[in-house]
């Protein structure tokens, strides 16, 4: 039975939730056998932030991987791991030698696919080095790097965070990543031993001297980005007391409580109720500090290790209850003790080489309409999903709906005849074009399953769910 119908070959760049949910939706909604999806991933292992971002003590959030495994079983899906799409390294210095990317330029992909969904996320931190001094001091880290380190990301294995430097930790930022960092610093390390946190992280955190964590934000409690679940987790940590903000600081916010949205109302209840552990009896403590904008990390005399953190004291300009209200410096400043500091002020995306003209630096994502890349030359067939589409914020649920939107745009463009029907040859064509240049081990889905099995076996020997391989060499060694 000959099938005259035009076919659609789709490449997805990035195998995190955005890439997988887009692949899932495209394969689910398209007529069977008409669409194929090839998914490219720079690391030998899939899942992006589901593997490297979600905290080890949040295993249920990783249940989304079951759906991704189902998608990968489709005969119309091909995983192409250990293969990075991009002509050259993105503007990011690699933190370690544990990972050497293998590049395939986007321009080659475009010859062999009808549609390319870019879902490669955000690869670096928002850079505050022009306004904050001392970021290079020993003991000051990016929260993103710290999370990547304890979650076994090959690019961050050399981080060696100095959590033994002293008792005072400062985490700058009021998002969930900041709360994850605080929680990992304050949680009893024994509670983490059975999770998939790396053994190297457990060893380091066993020597953790941190007893006081200050979670510092530039704006007020009504502008914070973190969510209540994560606040509640901190409040219920064993033996950890919450030092509340001053009553007179909170009262202007509480006075107008009825005008607040539901999540903020509930946040204020959490802040007022405080921690399960009593402040007096607790050995460790944390606080939320508001209206402080970092200006510098300062070392102790004659040292290159951080000892203090300096902040400008800020003031809300306008409606203190609105999420959009901005802040201005009051001219006052404040100093906090800081033996170890973490910057958690947001991530930064970058355009792949060739996509600079459609990159929106201010918005921190590629220009697009509902997932279809726009406002540039020669953008036909380019789509985006996830953080590279709408900016680096939002949990898996938002990314899922966002990916469904992109999938729907891809399929409706196909239906309208705008893309498809070019008899593209996908990965076979890419391989042929690369020829000898393809000199690396491409990791297939069944290869990943062998790595997965090996990680679980290593883990079960030491009572853990899995023990991740933390460098590319070890991952590939499983396949020899």
């Amino acid at each position: 039975m000959s099938n005259q119908r035009a076919k659609l070959r789709v490449a997805v760049v990035g195998s995190g939730p955005a890439g997988f949910y887009t692949a899932y939706r495209i394969l689910e909604k398209a007529p069977s056998g008409i669409v194929t999806v090839d998914m490219y991933e720079k690391l030998p292992v899939p899942y992006g932030l589901a593997r490297f971002g979600v905290a080890p003590d949040h295993p249920e959030v990783k249940n989304c991987e079951e759906k991704f495994e189902e998608v990968a079983q489709s005969p119309y899906f091909t995983f192409i791991g250990n293969t990075m799409v991009g002509a050259q390294p993105l503007a990011v210095p690699s933190h370690s030698q544990s990972f050497q990317p293998n590049h395939v330029p986007l321009s080659i992909l475009r010859q062999h696919y009808d549609a390319i969904v870019l879902s490669y996320g955000a690869d670096s931190d928002k850079d505050l080095s022009s306004s904050v001094k001392g970021l290079e001091l020993a003991g000051v880290y990016s929260a993103r790097a710290f999370v990547g380190w304890y979650n076994g990301h090959p690019e961050f294995q050399d981080l060696d965070p100095d959590v033994m430097a002293g008792e005072e930790a400062v985490v700058v930022g009021h998002g969930n990543v900041a709360l994850d960092v605080a929680r990992i610093l304050l949680t009893d390390v024994d509670a983490l031993r059975k999770t998939d946190i790396t053994e190297a992280a457990i060893a380091k955190l066993s020597e953790n001297k941190v007893k006081r964590v200050r979670i510092v934000g530039r704006r007020g409690p009504t502008q914070a980005s973190f969510t209540n679940k994560e606040v509640r987790e901190l409040m219920t940590l064993n033996g950890v007391g919450f030092i509340p903000p001053e009553a007179e600081f909170m009262s202007p916010f509480l006075e107008n409580g009825s005008k607040l949205g539901r999540p903020t109302k509930r946040l204020f209840q959490l802040l007022q109720r405080g921690s399960t552990a009593s402040v007096a009896d607790a050995i460790k403590h944390f606080s939320f500090d508001f209206l402080l904008s970092p200006t510098s990390f300062v070392p102790s005399e004659g040292s290159s290790h951080v000892a203090r953190a300096k902040f400008d004291v800020m003031q809300l300009q306008g409606d203190i209850l609105s999420k959009d209200t901005r802040v201005k410096s009051t001219g006052d400043f404040k100093e906090l003790p800081c033996n170890v500091g973490f910057m958690s002020v947001g991530y930064k995306t970058h355009p792949l080489a060739g996509l600079e003209d459609v990159y929106n630096d201010g918005a921190n994502h590629l220009n697009n309409e509902g997932g279809k890349v726009c406002a540039g030359i020669n953008v036909k067939g380019l789509y985006v999903a996830g953080w590279i589409k709408r900016g680096p914020a939002g949990v898996i649920a938002e990314t899922m709906y966002d990916s469904f939107e992109t999938a729907s745009v891809v399929l409706s463009d196909f239906e309208d005849g705008e893309i498809g029907g070019k008899s593209c040859d996908g990965w076979e064509g890419v391989k042929a074009e690369l020829g000898d240049k393809l000199d690396w081990k491409v990791v297939s889905w069944s290869d990943w399953q062998r790595i997965d099995k090996a990680e679980k076996e290593r883990g079960s020997k030491i009572g853990k769910e899995r023990e991740k391989f933390t460098n590319q060499k070890d991952m590939l060694a499983v396949l020899e």
Binding site: K29, A30, P31, H58, E60, V61, N63, C64, E66, K67, T227, N228, K229, R232, R262, P263, R266, G370, V395, I396, A397, M400, Y401, D402, F404, E405, S408
Partner: protein
């Protein structure tokens, strides 16, 4: 003598609290060993995003996420029903909302993040059917501002 057929018995009872009659559909099942048991079927109606009414008879103890997925309704459960996301968000008919045990802190924390949250919103994975919920009606909310109804057409 056993037969695999199911006898459906419909009878009316008076609901004292609401002074309204309610219909309880029960299946009297003849099991191979000759025992007769009574599995209570609870009627649930899902209202899809396109406005279609899907009528389902489910069992006591089933949760709405499992029921929706078993019947191919467009409801995702990204975290597998473990109260760690908001993708199984449903809007409960106000008439039934108070008959469901209140959400706990964990569910409320997830509902905080649900798009299009209403006064009668719940997570489908946390709503288990009971006899009192017979006739339950729930609506699937819009996913985001941008998705259209036509995106959910089955092909």
């Amino acid at each position: 003598m056993c037969y695999a057929d199911v006898l459906t018995v419909i009878f009316t009872t008076r609901n004292l609290v609401k002074s309204m009659s309610s219909h309880i559909v029960a299946l009297i099942v003849c099991r191979p060993e000759g025992l007769m048991t009574c599995d209570l079927r609870i009627h649930v109606t899902f209202i899809t995003r396109e406005g279609d009414q899907v009528h389902i008879d489910a069992a006591e103890g089933d949760n709405l996420l499992d029921i929706a997925q078993a019947h191919d309704l467009d409801m995702e459960g990204a975290c597998g029903g473990s109260c760690a996301c908001s993708t199984c968000h449903v809007i409960v008919d106000p008439e039934f909302y108070d008959l469901i045990p209140e959400p706990d802190d964990d569910e409320n924390d997830m509902l905080d993040l649900a798009f299009g949250l209403t006064e009668t919103s719940r997570l489908g994975c946390q709503v288990k059917l009971t006899k009192e919920l017979d006739g339950l009606r729930v609506a699937l909310p819009q996913m985001t501002r941008n998705l259209q109804a036509k995106d959910f057409e089955k092909r």
